[in-house]
């Protein structure tokens, strides 16, 4: 794929035409969907792949000896190749399918955490994590006696690198689990650097790519990430399917997490033996249709190319920051230098929920609340923010509609 010529500019009208839902009217108004960071809309290619599988080649996988099962197995397993290519993983066996990012992190916390980490070792997370990258480590701490350390962020919303590095001083850190891009602030973390620091101190590292992989090309080998996790539904794919990338030697050393069919080599009442990776971690019938849909999403992303996606979203983010910052009484939360298409804000005269309700009446979908990041909200001294997040189908004109409508929201609450 890397040798194919890439578009440098997106034909947004053509892209939008591939998303049937964008033709919907909300209370008679054009839908302005600015909540892609929560879950992205689905292109025709994904919809057709899932419907097509149900209509023409569906059966359970990995066990059938008949035509339908073999074809479905091939289609599902092709997703593993696509995911490996998307991440530039060295080996397709390093791709474990899970339900979502949350499950991927829980898998690592349970298996690597209890199986490899020793009580008394520490896990480092950052002060801008989603609850999904906080709670599993708290549960590990309480069950296994590991310590949980929090790498602070600066007031600009960037990881405080010297403070992060200082957390390793006593040599107890065994694992780092940090977001690659904040779902609240839009900040990227300097992944190469934080991986280097972790490795230099003998720790492994998991990067939560839920947000980052939507906007940027990820190369797990260049990053030297030990684990990289993402979810399908934010990447224009279906819900119920996500990916845990893990270095093969780590996955092989880790004990299975859930037991059941598909993850075994043999079973007797005395003992069972485990399948090879990645199947060791894939107990039970998986999300077959969703896996097939994810393959369509990955191929769709690859056809457009990350260069074009990143350029489009950088322009949108610049435009969004300029338009929103110009609104009197509006405060953009987080001012990271390296940031993606997520803008959280507060408005002096209106609570985030009231903003969201009024915007909704104008056909504009935003998120409001604590964004599943309560500790970050406390760090910022906030209860909630409104958040506009951009996708590949977002247009500058939609951001103008948001900004113009926010001016009227402010008038409404004066």
């Amino acid at each position: 794929m890397n040798d194919l010529p890439r578009h440098t500019e997106l034909d947004i009208a053509a892209i939008r035409a591939q998303f049937p839902i964008l033709a919907q009217k909300i209370r008679g108004k054009d839908l302005v969907f600015l909540d892609s960071a929560a879950s992205a809309q689905k292109p025709r290619a994904v919809i057709d792949a899932m419907v097509g599988a149900m209509e023409t080649q569906y059966a359970n996988i990995h066990r059938g000896l008949h035509w339908m099962s073999e074809r479905t197995t091939d289609a599902y397993e092709a997703t593993r190749d696509s995911a490996a290519r998307l991440l530039n993983a060295a080996d397709r066996h390093e791709i474990v399918f899970v339900r979502n990012t949350t499950e991927a992190i829980n898998l690592v916390a349970h298996s690597y955490g209890r199986g490899i980490l020793k009580p008394g070792q520490a896990v480092v997370i950052s002060a801008m994590e989603h609850h999904s990258n906080i709670v599993p480590w708290q549960m590990l701490r309480d069950a296994h006696g590991t310590e949980l350390r929090i790498a602070p962020i600066t007031d600009a919303g960037e990881l405080d690198i010297p403070a992060y590095e200082a957390l390793f001083a006593d040599g107890k850190v065994g694992l780092v689990a940090i977001t690659h891009m904040s779902n609240v602030l839009g900040s990227y973390t300097p992944a190469e650097r934080i991986v280097q620091i972790a490795h230099a101190n003998g720790a492994k590292i998991l990067l939560d790519g839920s947000q980052a992989i939507v906007h940027r090309r990820i190369d797990v080998q260049a990053l030297d990430a030990d684990f990289y996790v993402f979810t399908g539904h934010k990447l224009y794919g279906p819900t119920g399917i996500g990916v845990l990338y893990g270095k093969r030697e780590l996955l092989e050393a880790m004990p299975p997490w859930m037991g059941g069919g598909d993850m075994i080599s043999s079973v007797s009442y005395e003992r069972s033996t485990w399948a090879q990776v990645p199947h060791k971690f894939e107990a039970g019938t998986p999300a077959i249709l969703e896996g097939i849909g994810l393959n369509a999403a990955i191929q769709w992303i690859e056809a457009i190319g990350y260069d074009a996606i990143a350029a489009h979203e950088a322009a949108l983010t610049d435009h969004g920051l300029a338009r929103l910052s110009a609104i009197e009484g509006l405060t953009v939360i987080g001012r990271a230098q390296d940031r993606g298409g997520v803008i959280s804000f507060t408005l002096d005269r209106a609570h985030a929920h009231d903003i969201a309700t009024l915007l909704d009446r104008a056909g504009i979908a935003v998120r409001a609340g604590h964004h599943c990041a309560e500790p970050l909200m406390r760090r910022l001294g906030l209860e909630s923010t409104a958040r506009a997040s951009f996708g590949i189908y977002t247009t500058p004109a939609e951001i103008d509609v948001l900004a113009d409508t926010l001016l009227k929201v402010r008038e409404f609450f004066q």
Binding site: A350, H351, H353, A368, G369, S384, T405, K408, F412, F413
Partner: protein, 150 residues
């Protein structure tokens, strides 16, 4: 613009959300409880002082949240004044019906202060904002300490 939201964001709700009349901590109280909406981050605490006859003599609250939750808390204080805990539970059941359906066939006159919130049923994601202070109040009356509107 936004004329269609005036059913919910009416003059009473805006005024009570902006300048609540009863948003204060009671120093002299019998029971208190916190209410928390974990999905959106709204928080409220309610303090109650009973009269000698076990009716509610005074209610105070502190709220961090949207206009709807603050206005609902402020109006609730007036609705429950003078009622027993049992009466208050019946009032909440009636208010819940009003908030969820917009109709309240057996609404007592006592619930009249809550009528400005009747349109919240048109905004399903906001019903929990309007009911959060009531959940906190009932937790206080049951001496439970905490409540959630989820």
């Amino acid at each position: 613009m936004f004329e269609d939201v005036r059913d919910l964001y009416n003059a009473t709700i805006i005024e009570r959300g902006r300048r609540p009349r009863h948003m204060r901590r009671l120093d002299d109280f019998d029971v208190t409880a916190k209410g928390d909406n974990p999905m959106c981050g709204d928080r409220v605490q309610v303090w109650v002082k009973y009269a000698a006859d076990s009716t509610i003599a005074a209610t105070g609250f502190d709220a961090r949240g949207c206009e709807i939750s603050k206005a609902a808390a402020d109006l609730m204080v007036e609705a429950v004044a003078g009622h027993t805990a049992e009466d208050t539970k019946r009032l909440f059941a009636a208010f819940l019906t009003l908030a969820q359906t917009g109709q309240c066939p057996d609404c007592a006159e006592a619930l009249a202060p809550m009528q400005p919130l009747a349109a919240v049923h048109e905004y399903p994601s906001r019903v929990k904002c309007a009911t959060l202070p009531w959940h906190a109040l009932l937790a206080a009356l049951d001496d439970k300490g905490n409540a959630s509107s989820e």
